[in-house]
């Protein structure tokens, strides 16, 4: 059971942090001029 909870935490905690950063820095991103950067996600 604890390993399943740990696996869930390994997904949920980084996702929540990513979501928080998206909200916090979203305004900064919107203020950037020019076309959006190409996102290669590698």
């Amino acid at each position: 059971m604890s390993i399943i909870l740990y696996a869930a935490a390994c997904v949920v905690v980084p996702a929540l942090w990513g979501l928080a950063m998206y909200k916090v820095f979203g305004r900064v991103q919107r203020q950037r001029k020019g076309p959006p950067p190409i996102d290669y996600m590698i």
Binding site: P14, V28, Q29, D39
Partner: protein
Amino acid sequence: MDLTISVDGHAVLWPGIVLLGLAVGYLAGMFGVGGGFIVTPLLSAVFGVPLQVAAGTSLAQMVGTALVAFLRHQKVKQGEPRFDLLMLAGSVLGVDAGTRAVGALAAAGSARIAGRSIPWIHIILDPLYIAFLVTAAVMFWWHGEERREPGPLARVRWLAVDLPRVGFRASAPLIAYVGFGLGFLSGLLGVGGGVALLPVLVFGFGFPFRQAAGTGILVVLTTAIVGTIVHALEGNVHLGLAMMLLVGSSISAQLGAVATKKAPIDRLTKVFVVVVGATIVAVGWSCVRQLR
């Protein structure tokens, strides 16, 4: 004050991990890359984190970065969502297969090369990382040319479906197989896999470059989630390590994004190639060290 944390029995210098996160985040902000292709080999080669743990931990921090990239791409409508959905079917199976493969390699023991005992996981994965990094450097050096017509893979007509944003049809099962390959690489190497997908989309299918760059984000996010779960169940994810990388990288990514505005793209590309080259040297040096 103890500056080390224990990762799978190995003492790892945590300030170094924070610095790695800051450096990779800066690079990610400049170029819009996820960074997994640098994080995983460096965690292993420089910090001594076992490769399977480096791959699992890198996928966990990628859940955060890929979620942000996915949300951003939803806004700018870059990419071909139908291609993403078709790849998903294969990628979920692929990431599970890749994760099991890395587990099998970790359990396979060692082989004797030049009188030294070298773990199979390094014999197989280190050259793959180097090939992956070389591909990344080449893809960034070249990044403007575009095809105007469907590529050779788009000529496969088996159960073809319309891809409205790129304006041609492609085989649905073939796209699912591409997804399987991408998922397998993610599970095996702990990378997002965009650098492997990009040449397949541009040269294989004939995607315009911007549409190619936006395609695959949903797959990367899904494979990161599935890969993290499978790796975590195998005991291959260190959440503390993943969060150190993610916190550092998500903050410095904003500085990297600002730097992009101030420096010419040619110089930035050279910086990127130098960083990738340094990572190749680190992985190569780690290989040589094992043979000495």
